[in-house]
């Protein structure tokens, strides 16, 4: 019997494991926090491990074309649903597993207990995100988006209060409309090409006649609108800062990742569907300028924002805008720099959002406001005795962690944010076609957004850590400090290992550029032959 090798079965684990664990946890009584947490934690660790293995496997010569294809229900593509693990998917699975582990551990002390079914919803969310990264089928992608969104509705409302209900209402309404657009887009694409398989799309689109093309393009544009709503492109992304600010910190940290899922889907589908043929590169220009508009909007937002949660939201919008513009630009070297940027900014924004929950403990709004006014009007205090205030260890940790995440978000040296920006600029300046107006625009805007981030985050940091008049050191539990340290430690590791990581990302981008081999690989993977009829397997 030629059974599937375990390496292939592993592709399913990131989807199936959270589903099973989440389902099993539904009937378990809410009082058994520790059991639920333990199951969730174990599940997360396995996910981390499997993501690591998948990442390693896709980078080796085990699978032809570095693609692991899994035919669910044993039907060949394009008829059945194929899951595909490649370098990009492996990387994003790893990012998901890391981030979720951090968010989970962070939530273990308090946040997971302020409502019911946190752990099941959390696991279902992971299932949805992982599924969206792995699937190669448009409708299946929709299903996983729905799983992800439904779980995120529940999580945004988790531990609800007025703010969360209000923000959740907005979030749900917008995303339902986006889902509707998603469906319309898929329907139009299916109507014009007759397939739902992403790999199958490319050749079919290339073969479409000029008369049939507009319908497909309209479908693709509507589909893109759905993704861009989730990726928060201006003017579709106003829901984002409100939602981030309202959600509980661990949930907000996971939301950061979800923004990237929309952009991932866009990159995946476009690099397969519009790789060649008369419609090659459809809409990329619009995407670029949309990304620029988003970047401008995020920059303005981060300058104007006063609450840290909104600030993080606008930081996420900035990073979304950058990524959209980078993908819309179309230069492969730029894209691999963009992936590096994605990793760093996601980790840092998530760490920042976790920190926001902790800094609430040391803020005393009155003192901060007074300090702000005095600085704004350049009022000098009477010089006091030059004796400093000792920062207790917990406060020092918060300050350092805040500084580190701010450095990554704004792209200041020496952490990964700087390498990311540098590599973006390097790619922009040293592209093959010389430096165009678009390159200059993007470069200047990225610099400006970094500067705006510096101004805003410094204002917030000074107000929180220096001017708060915090007398008592905040209470800090290891399960809260640990995840933040993990996320920021990864940013440091990304800086040190920038060379190998960028090389890996370059291979990833090259894979994306070779749509032909992807298509061939997916469509030619055979189903496991069934035994002759009548014989019991």
């Amino acid at each position: 019997m030629n059974a599937l090798p375990w390496t292939q079965q592993l592709i399913l684990v990131p989807i199936l494991l959270p589903l099973l664990a989440g389902a099993l946890l539904i009937p378990v009584n809410e009082a058994r926090h520790n059991l639920k947490f333990a199951v969730n934690l174990g599940c997360n660790l396995v996910l981390l491990l499997s993501a690591l293995i998948l990442l390693g496997l896709s980078d080796q010569e085990l699978w032809p074309g570095h693609l692991g294809v899994y035919l669910a229900a044993n039907w060949m593509a394009p008829f059945g649903i194929a899951l595909v693990a490649d370098r990009l998917a492996g990387l994003l699975l790893l990012l998901t597993a890391t981030l979720s582990l951090a968010a989970l551990v962070f939530s273990s002390q308090g946040w997971s207990r302020i409502g019911v079914h946190f752990h099941s919803l959390f696991l279902f969310l992971l299932m949805g995100i992982n599924g969206a990264f792995l699937t190669n089928d448009l409708f299946n992608l929709f299903v996983f988006f729905e799983v992800m969104l439904a779980a995120s509705y529940g999580l945004v409302l988790h531990g609800y209060n007025t703010t969360r209900i209000r923000a959740g209402m907005q979030y749900i309404a917008i995303n339902l409309v986006a889902s509707l657009l998603f469906l319309i887009g898929i329907a139009l694409i299916y109507a014009s090409t007759g397939t739902l398989n992403m790999a199958d799309l490319g050749p079919r689109i290339a073969a479409l006649s000029a008369a049939d093309l507009p319908l497909l393009q309209i479908g693709a544009a509507i589909l893109a609108l759905a993704f861009l709503t989730k990726g928060a492109m201006w003017p579709l992304g106003f829901w984002l800062p409100t939602t981030y600010a309202a959600a509980s910190p661990p949930v907000a940290a996971l939301l950061v990742l979800m923004t990237k899922v929309g952009i991932y889907a866009l990159i995946r589908i476009w690099s397969l569907a519009f790789a060649a043929g008369p419609a090659a590169g459809f809409g990329l220009d619009a995407l670029f300028w949309g990304g620029i508009a988003t970047l401008v909007f995020g920059t303005l937002g981060i300058l104007a924002a006063q609450e840290p949660g909104r600030m993080a939201g606008y930081a996420a919008i900035i990073s979304s805008g950058t990524l959209m513009a980078v993908f819309g630009h179309g230069d492969p070297q730029l894209l691999s720099a963009g992936f590096y940027y994605l990793l760093g900014s996601t980790l840092a924004t998530a760490a920042f959002l976790l920190l926001v929950g902790l800094t609430e403990r040391i803020r005393s709004p009155g003192a901060a406001l007074l300090a702000l006014t005095m600085e704004a009007f350049a009022i000098d205090e009477k010089p006091e005795e030059p004796v400093g205030v000792g920062i207790p260890a917990a406060l020092a940790f918060l300050g350092l962690a805040f500084a580190a995440s701010a450095l990554v978000i704004t792209g200041l040296p020496p952490l990964s944010g700087f390498i990311a920006k540098f590599s973006l600029f390097h790619a922009l300046l040293n592209g093959e076609a010389g430096i165009s107006l678009r390159d200059w625009t993007l470069m200047i805007l990225i610099l400006c957004s970094g500067l705006a981030g510096i101004i805003a985050l410094m204002r917030f940091g000074v107000r929180t850590f220096w001017a708060s008049g915090a007398v008592q050191p905040p209470r800090l539990h290891p399960t809260e400090a640990g995840p933040v340290t993990l996320l920021l430690g990864l940013c440091v590791a990304m800086t040190v290992l920038a060379g190998p990581l960028l090389a890996y990302l370059e291979r990833t981008t090259r894979d994306l550029g070779q749509a032909g081999s992807y298509v061939e690989q997916v469509l030619s993977t055979p189903a496991v032959p069934s035994p002759p009829r009548g014989e019991a397997p």
């Binding site: 657009l181 319908l215 937002g301 104007a304 300090a371 350049a378 205030v389 020496p414």
Partner: protein, 962 residues
């Protein structure tokens, strides 16, 4: 590992220092001092070892793909600066040991100080420009932290923010400039850039690159118009001011200009930008320094002025000017650091730095006074001190650059000389005269070792000033050769060059300065002046704060116009995008609209007119009449259902019917708890025109959206189907899927994976609804019993639901409905079992089963049903999902992928051969999940009633008490 040790050691020291206890002043100082001393000796030794002119390298690969390499490069210039950084660093550490109060948290101080030392060494030793930028920003960051060291003071916080904003912005510009350089040269390696002068200065991007790099250097070195941050940085502890803000960090800017001098200098643009900024700074700084009342403020402006002098020299661009610039950099570091330390001592001992109060300190602290007077002599350019030599070189260069005709540069230089003498005199005035008011503290000489760094530095000033050729020239020469290479000019460091114009200028400056000082003091009451004339209106600090405020206000303003926090405008934007984006990207779709192949059936058209009318009416009534809207929406659902039947899709019709039924009932149950929406009181006047305008806009948009989607649907329907994957499913459903109902086979086999996801969504939604409603309290206005149920004539109003059904007016209905339960159960089982071959399946069966239970709830109320029937929706949900998963996983046992279906043929005694497809079990999971989901939502809603009736009674006593 040799050169990198120089940089790594301070950073490790910084980490260690951070971990030491808060009161470990001595240990901290020893640690920092040892690191600085070891570094100093090591740097000196390294250079002795190397051949003259040799450049030492250390390379560590970092990101080779981007040309980013970690390169440390020690040449003469780097050596001179490294010695300066570590030498002054050592003295500052010693000084800080005594300066910092025992109550200060010193670990932080020494930790940041060491980190700064490492970063600064990184800047001077960088052999790669990007790496230089990294360390450059690190110096800004550590400077920020050190300025804000006493962060409970507003001036410290403001100074730190200002310094960081300005220098970090400059750093970003520098990064951009360096990237442009790298683009021009093709490498970020310093050697490659220095060797490519011709390429760079003829490149079209030369000017932007130069401007950006200059912005970086000028902000860092506090040059006009970015100079304002430096005086505010004086809020830092004095050792920091002495180290970072006079001797080293602010020199990073001029260091960069020297470093890149061979590659960038010598063009007209260079001279205009660099020398222009330098000259303005020079005059402005010196002028402002005269009128300060804070001793540190005076020194800060004087530093600005001296940095301007160095910048001007570099801008002039002759080789000799470069020599003078480097020379003055070293001289300034020595005398200014010692002056800052002296001010620190005065501040420490007297408790003030205000020159309006300080008087006659010579008597109490003669030793410190002598040192400070000598150092300010160097600052003023008094002969036999080092400042005199470099200033004279500056005068000579200004004369040279102007030639015979253009004297403006020389006038400026002379003016600066005069100003320098004035503020130096003002500075030393604190030592003379009679104290006219008591000082905060009784001054006395500082501890022996606190004074030692000052003594050493002042001694250096003297030695260099008297015997420059022996003392400084060998060191200076190393640096100069590293910058200029073969262009190194002949120069002669000597006190006496004979009578010439520069000497005359020095002399004039001294005389005029002394005279003007007297004049200012006598006539203009210089001592008590609080502001500099003319320029005090241009407060950089206020301008900075105003700019920041304006930026955030402008951003806020723009944000309010470009964004929104409300839901409606967002939906508007989405609809607009839906209409415009495809239209703009693809254009209209005239070609797609072919005439329909068949004429429409009249009945079908009527059906759709009715459905459309229902939908419109639902939208129309949704605001005030929710019940009507819901009923109308149900009408639309029925039309959809009939349409499916009409188009031969019985599966879909059946599912649609059941979904409509269940959702309508559930929403109805929910509607009970929504507070009614009341119409605005008052006469129904015509709405004002902005409202009408908005409504017309929305109307147009709605029409456009609806029409667009209708057209798209039409286009899809009239075009021939493409060669799609659909035919495959129809062919294989029976032969390979084992079922004749292709829709069901599609759901449980071909795309069973989708179904699994969908039931997960159902489960999630149910859980979310449950979580939301679990502790939900209905709004106050919807708690009261509805009017229909409160009629006193009706006997039923006094009966609970169960009683109504058992013995009340619902008795007949009750008996029938309860009898119906098993039949509905059988119907569900029937639809479930036939699903694989005929319309039906787990989903529909689950809904039918749910309806059976909902009916019981509606009849007799939640309490009655739950007393008799233990539904555990959570288990139904959880186990349903698990059954579906387990069925899929069963395939693994046989080596097949997840969800691969298999049909077993079982011989049963009575029923005969039975086809038992694995899809059957999968469908069972679907069934259980659907039942669990519906039940959970039902229970969550139904329990509102049990809770809300209790509520008013509980709330009543509280209300009465109020």
């Amino acid at each position: 590992m040799t050169l990198s040790a120089l940089i790594i050691a301070p950073f490790i020291g910084s980490l260690v220092a951070a971990c030491l206890p808060a009161n470990a002043r001595n240990r901290e100082a020893w640690l920092a001092g040892a690191i600085a001393l070891a570094g100093l000796l090591f740097t000196g030794w390294l250079f002795m070892q190397a051949d003259p002119g040799e450049v030492l390298y250390e390379r560590i690969a970092w990101v080779p793909a981007l040309g980013l390499e970690f390169v440390l490069r020690l040449d003469g210039l780097a050596w001179v600066f490294a010695m300066l950084v570590q030498g002054i660093g050592l003295l500052v550490v010693l000084y800080a040991r005594y300066y910092m109060s025992p109550a200060d948290p010193v670990p932080r101080f020494f930790s940041f100080l060491l980190a700064f030392m490492g970063s600064m060494l990184g800047v001077v030793l960088s052999g790669n420009l990007v790496q230089l930028v990294v360390f450059w920003e690190l110096t800004s960051l550590t400077s920020f932290l050190l300025i804000g060291y006493w962060h409970h003071r507003a001036d410290a916080r403001r100074g730190a923010r200002m310094a960081f904003t300005v220098t970090a912005t400059g750093g970003l510009c520098l990064l951009a400039g360096v990237l442009l350089l790298g683009h021009m040269v093709g490498s970020y390696d310093l050697d490659a850039v220095l060797a490519a002068r011709e390429l760079i200065i003829t490149h079209e991007l030369y000017l932007p690159a130069l401007i950006l790099i200059a912005l970086g250097a000028l902000t860092k070195s506090a040059q006009f118009p970015f100079h304002f941050w430096l005086p505010h940085a004086m809020a830092a502890p004095t050792p920091v001011s002495s180290y970072l803000h006079s001797a080293t960090m602010v020199k990073a800017g001029v260091f960069l200009l020297m470093r890149l001098w061979p590659a960038l200098a010598g063009t007209e643009a260079w001279t205009w930008i660099i020398a222009g900024a330098g000259t303005c700074t020079l005059l402005l700084g010196a002028f402002a320094a005269i009128f300060q009342r804070d001793m540190k403020g005076l020194l800060a402006y004087s530093t600005i002025s001296h940095l301007g002098l160095i910048t001007t020299l570099l801008g002039i661009g002759t080789p000799l000017a470069v020599v003078a610039a480097l020379f003055h950099t070293l001289n300034h570091a020595t005398f200014k650091a010692s002056l800052f330390m002296a001010v620190g001592i005065i501040d420490h001992e007297t408790g003030t730095r205000d020159m309006r109060i300080l008087r006659g300190l010579y008597r109490q602290m003669p030793y410190t006074a002598t040192l400070a007077i000598v150092a300010s002599g160097a600052m003023a350019g008094v002969p036999l001190l080092n400042g005199f030599l470099s200033k004279e070189m500056f005068f000579a260069e200004t004369l040279l650059v102007g030639g015979d005709s253009n004297w403006w540069m020389s006038y400026a230089a002379l003016a600066v000389g005069v100003f320098g003498v004035i503020y130096s005199l003002r500075f030393i005035a604190v030592f003379f005269g009679k104290p006219d008011q008591p000082l905060p503290r009784e001054p006395h000489e500082p501890p022996r070792w606190m004074r030692f760094p000052v003594e050493l530095l002042v001694l250096t000033c003297l030695v260099v000033g008297v015997v420059p050729a022996i003392s400084i020239e060998p060191i200076l020469h190393q640096g100069v050769v590293a910058i200029l290479g073969e262009a190194t000019p002949q120069y002669d460091l000597a006190v006496w060059h004979g009578f010439n114009l520069p000497l005359l200028m020095s002399f004039l400056a001294l005389v005029l300065g002394a005279w003007s000082y007297q004049l200012l003091r006598r006539r203009f009451n210089l001592r008590q002046r609080e502001q500099a004339p003319l320029i005090h209106r241009f407060s950089g600090a206020q301008a900075y704060e105003n700019t920041m405020l304006a930026i955030s206000r402008a951003a806020d303003f723009m944000l309010r116009h470009l964004g929104t926090r409300r839901l409606q405008p967002q939906l508007l934007a989405m609809t607009l995008a839906l209409l415009l984006v495809p239209a703009l990207l693809v254009g209209m779709l005239p070609g797609l609209l072919a005439p329909a192949p068949h004429p429409a059936d009249a009945f079908f058209v009527m059906l759709w007119v009715a459905g459309g009318a229902c939908a419109l009416a639902a939208a129309w009534q949704a605001k005030y009449q929710r019940l009507a809207a819901l009923a109308l929406a149900g009408g639309t659902g029925i039309v959809t259902c009939i349409t499916f039947l009409w188009l031969s899709a019985p599966d879909l019709a059946l599912t649609q019917l059941m979904v409509e039924t269940v959702t309508t009932i559930l929403i109805l149950l929910g509607l009970r708890w929504l507070p009614p929406r009341l119409r605005d009181a008052g006469p129904a006047a015509a709405p004002p025109w902005p409202v009408r305008l908005r409504r017309s806009r929305d109307m147009l948009l709605a029409l456009g959206g609806g029409l667009g989607l209708a057209l798209l649907s039409y286009a899809v329907m009239v075009r021939p189907m493409p060669d799609s994957i659909a035919s495959f499913f129809l062919e294989k459903a029976r032969s390979e899927g084992g079922g004749s109902n292709a829709v069901n086979v599609l759901l449980v086999d071909f795309r069973g994976f989708d179904t699994m996801g969908e039931i997960t969504v159902l489960a999630i939604v149910a859980l979310t609804v449950y979580a939301l409603l679990r502790r939900f309290r209905p709004a106050a206005e919807s708690i009261a019993i509805p009017a229909q149920q409160a009629n006193p004539v009706d006997a039923a109003t006094r009966q609970p639901p169960a009683e109504q059904a058992n013995s009340g007016y619902l008795q007949v209905a009750g008996i029938y409905m309860r009898l119906l339960l098993p039949f509905m159960g059988i119907t569900a089982a029937y639809f479930f079992l036939r699903g694989h071959n005929l319309p039906g399946g787990g989903f529909v069966a689950g809904l039918i089963f749910s309806v059976a239970i909902i009916v019981q709830y509606m009849l007799a109320g939640a309490t009655w049903v739950e007393d008799r029937l233990h539904l555990r929706p959570h288990r139904w949900l959880g186990y349903g999902l698990c059954i579906a998963c387990a069925t899929g996983l069963g395939a693994w046992a046989f080596g097949y992928p997840f969800l691969t279906s298999h049909t077993a043929h079982v011989e049963l005694p009575l029923l005969g051969e039975l086809h038992l497809p694995s899809a059957f079990f999968f469908d069972l999971g679907v069934f259980a999940t659907v039942v669990g989901c519906t039940m959970l939502i039902l229970v969550a809603l139904a329990h509102q009633s049990t809770r809300s009736h209790r509520l008013p009674e509980k709330a009543d006593p509280a209300r009465e008490a109020r």
